[in-house]
Symmetry: C2
Subunit: 216 residues, 2 copies
């Protein structure tokens, strides 16, 4: 059975981006701080065609999140924010060769034809909800034996947790307070159950993995 994994960087106050995002700065004020821990890592740089980088425990965590990727599910914002939904010339934030490199299902309210990019990424736009997107990603991944990664943002992960379609959640907790921005776990039901399965002290951030289920 194809497993569904989600992982995301969060601040101490539970934000996955900062307040007051703009089209130029979609991560909001201070939001880039959530991701600075990753950019110098070997696993990140290699997967983005940027040569070698730091090899350390954080890089191992990132490599493990990349290994065996079969398909992705992302929100509209992670594809390319608002404009992509109405301007057919807009092909997302990532340029012609996005880093996903697998079939990537974009949860959105706006139907759109699929986009085949370079390097293996194919964006498909799903308008009937997160559970449907995960189901389609499972199908797409099943041939490869890879898993499905629900990549964010917060809204898509929160919906996926509530829909019971996430098997494993990994948080990269970044020691910073953002003071605003979308929160992971907002609107997630207290009936969703979590159990810690792995804890890794990184150089600057903390990686905690939870098995996700339903509470009795």
């Amino acid at each position: 059975m194809t497993s569904v994994f989600s992982h995301i960087s969060v601040s101490l106050d539970g934000r996955v981006a900062g307040p007051r995002p703009t089209l130029k700065d979609p991560l909001g004020e201070g939001g880039m701080q959530l991701h600075e821990w990753i950019f110098d890592l070997d696993a990140w740089k290699l997967s983005h065609g940027l040569g070698a980088g730091l090899r350390n425990v954080d890089s191992d965590v990132v490599q493990a999140s990349i290994d065996g990727l079969g398909a992705c599910v992302v929100g509209r914002g992670m594809f390319g924010g608002g404009p992509g939904d109405w301007d057919p010339s807009w092909r997302g934030w990532w340029g012609e060769e996005p880093p996903f490199k697998v079939p990537t299902f974009v949860v959105t309210h706006f139907p759109r034809e699929r986009l085949t990019m370079k390097g293996g990424t194919r964006f498909e736009f799903v308008v009937d909800g997160v559970a449907a997107a995960v189901a389609r990603a499972r199908s797409a991944a099943s041939g490869s034996g890879g898993r499905v990664v629900v990549g964010g943002g917060a809204s898509v992960i929160n919906q996926a947790l509530n829909a019971g379609v996430v098997d494993e959640l990994q948080l990269h907790v970044v020691p910073v307070v953002l003071g605003g921005g979308p929160r992971l776990f907002d609107g997630v039901s207290p009936e969703v159950g979590f159990e810690v399965t792995d804890t890794v002290a990184g150089e600057a951030v903390t990686h905690v993995t939870y098995q996700v289920g339903r509470r009795d």
Copy 2:
């Protein structure tokens, strides 16, 4: 110099108590789940006069938080909620022998005479803010060489973080979503700086310690 330490259990959604607290259930709906990890531990039971308990990594964390305690700072709610502020016969949630066992400074808007309890706890009520309460606790602790513990709730810790009077913060992250209730870090300035100094994977919860400072 007397150091100031704060530690508190938080849910995945950052709550230190559940929604809809009542006088009978001051921790709110589901809030008791934040504390269940502690009740069977050796360090907890011994410090509450309940005999021996489980010895494990969680108990070591609790013991370390108890060792060298010189004075406490708590919010009105941790002393005894609302009624204590106007009913002089109310002596708090904890009975005649509270577990603090040191001078304990209660941050409140309502002046009140000090209360000397059994077992070393002396409640003093401070109406001029958290920083003043911490300063008085520092004085009280300085003779013993012990440190000051800012015990909660969320509001007092958040104010203390903003006031720059906390040296070290330890979170006990409990893998549960509460869906409501007071949040740690609400209103804390993004200018408060945190650096991870220790990470402990407990049996069911994750203990992360941060050195607290000011960001440049």
